[in-house]
């Protein structure tokens, strides 16, 4: 089968992006019980399972909205593995001991693996970005929020009661600050990996 062919289960991804309640309900009905069972059999409880599922669905919403989620494998395997890996990582964090993630290699195909890799990378990038954004001063945060909500820099200037030239320069510098921090984190990471 063509590896790049979109799987019919893409409807679940599109449904999430459209905030379609019928689709979301059917995800809960069809795919969530398996995740809950897994988490409860692996030192978790129902509340924790509920949180993991919600986090993953919000992640998929974000990725779908960023237009970078094209499902090439069944939703079932993809969704279950994402939840499973997230849960095992949580366990690892809280117990401080090594938890090996043993994959059922035979049961998952290559494209599912690849997709999961993309989603986890998307998640990592987003988390890194959020951490850095929190480090910014309040002025930068406010200016960036307005710039990307309103889009017209003339209007942003008017709203903040400053000149157009000032907001343009300030915006470049705030984006620049984030760029610098993220670039440093990336360089550090590649240094660590080499």
């Amino acid at each position: 089968m063509d590896k790049n062919k979109i799987h019919p289960d893409q409807k679940y991804i599109d449904g999430l992006a459209e905030n379609n309640s019928v689709i979301i309900q059917s995800i809960y009905k069809k795919f969530v019980p398996k995740v809950v069972m897994f988490i409860m059999n692996n030192s978790g409880d129902r509340d924790q399972a509920q949180d993991i599922v919600q986090e993953i669905l919000i992640l998929l919403f974000n990725q779908a909205k960023a237009n970078s989620l094209k499902l090439t494998c069944p939703f079932d395997a993809y969704f279950f593995l994402l939840c499973k890996r997230k849960w095992l990582n949580e366990l690892k964090k809280s117990s401080n001991k090594e938890v090996t993630i043993i994959e059922d290699v035979l049961s998952i195909n290559e494209s599912a693996h690849e997709l999961i890799g993309h989603t986890e990378e998307f998640d990592e990038k987003q988390q890194l970005f959020d951490t850095m954004f929190q480090k910014l001063g309040d002025k930068c945060k406010e200016l960036l929020k307005l710039s990307f909500e309103i889009k017209s820099m003339e209007e942003v200037a008017e709203k903040l009661n400053v000149t157009y030239g000032y907001v343009r320069k300030k915006k470049s510098l705030c984006v620049g600050q984030l760029t610098q921090w993220i670039q440093e984190a990336k360089n550090f990471k590649s240094l660590k990996n080499n």
């Binding site: 379609n20 019928v22 919600q54 669905l57």
Partner: protein, 240 residues
């Protein structure tokens, strides 16, 4: 921080550089990997920002809807239940017994048999709005004629599927069929969690007007995935 570089990046992306400066910029992108890599990161940051703030309202709506569905799925209802289920069960069986004794079996089902509107509880989700609170109190006390104008006031300022739904139920209880059906039709065409429930209430509206044929047709359009499908089946069975 290399301020000039970031200002340059922004000017390039906005298409504000002169031809010469633009060529110079693109030449540097090709020759200087560090410059190119930093420019990539700059674009990525812009993308993240657009994704974070550009769709913030949509994301909030999604999260709210998701929480609602999730709480329901994991059976953690925030509903306020007035009577203990035990009482309801006894009351229901007594009613059924009386029904068996005193009514003939061929009678058509009536609206009252299916009329058990759920309690509203808006305040738990944080929005403390005086009119909405009053509307909720009136609604839960079944004083629908008082609740209707309050819901109307609230809906002018804040229109959510949840408020619309309870407004629709109030209208139906007071037999304002046209208005009620307009509200439920709007919900039916939307994507909220109330979508299917609205169809069920459209059917109930027909039932209350004793239009059994229309009621049946609407019921048949409800998918089996609907949470209250057992009631749908029961009513369909009675209509046959």
């Amino acid at each position: 921080m290399n301020e000039e570089r970031y200002i340059l990046f922004d000017q390039y992306l906005q298409g504000e550089l002169t031809i010469d400066a633009k060529n110079e910029f693109e030449k540097q992108l090709l020759e200087d990997p560090e410059f190119a890599s930093e420019f990539e990161t700059f674009k990525e940051v812009q993308f993240q920002l657009a994704n974070k703030f550009g769709i913030e309202a949509e994301r909030e709506a999604f999260k709210q809807n998701l929480t609602h569905i999730s709480e329901h799925h994991f059976d953690k209802n925030t509903k306020v239940i007035g009577l203990k289920p035990w009482y309801l069960a006894v009351a229901a069986s007594v009613a059924v017994l009386f029904g068996l004794f005193f009514f003939n079996y061929n009678q058509n089902p009536v609206f009252a048999d299916y009329n058990n509107p759920e309690q509203a509880s808006f305040t738990v989700r944080g929005t403390v709005n005086e009119s909405l609170k009053q509307a909720e109190e009136m609604y839960n006390a079944k004083r629908y004629n008082k609740a209707i104008p309050l819901f109307e006031t609230v809906l002018q300022k804040q229109k959510t599927a949840e408020i619309q739904f309870f407004y629709g139920v109030s209208l139906l209880e007071e037999s304002h069929y046209l208005k009620a059906e307009a509200v439920f039709n709007e919900l039916k065409n939307g994507v909220s969690v109330y979508k299917e429930k609205a169809v069920w209430y459209l059917a109930l509206s027909k039932l209350k007007q004793k239009d059994y044929e229309a009621c049946k047709q609407i019921l048949e359009s409800i998918s089996e995935d609907y949470e209250g499908y057992d009631q749908v089946q029961e009513l369909l069975h009675q209509l046959d």
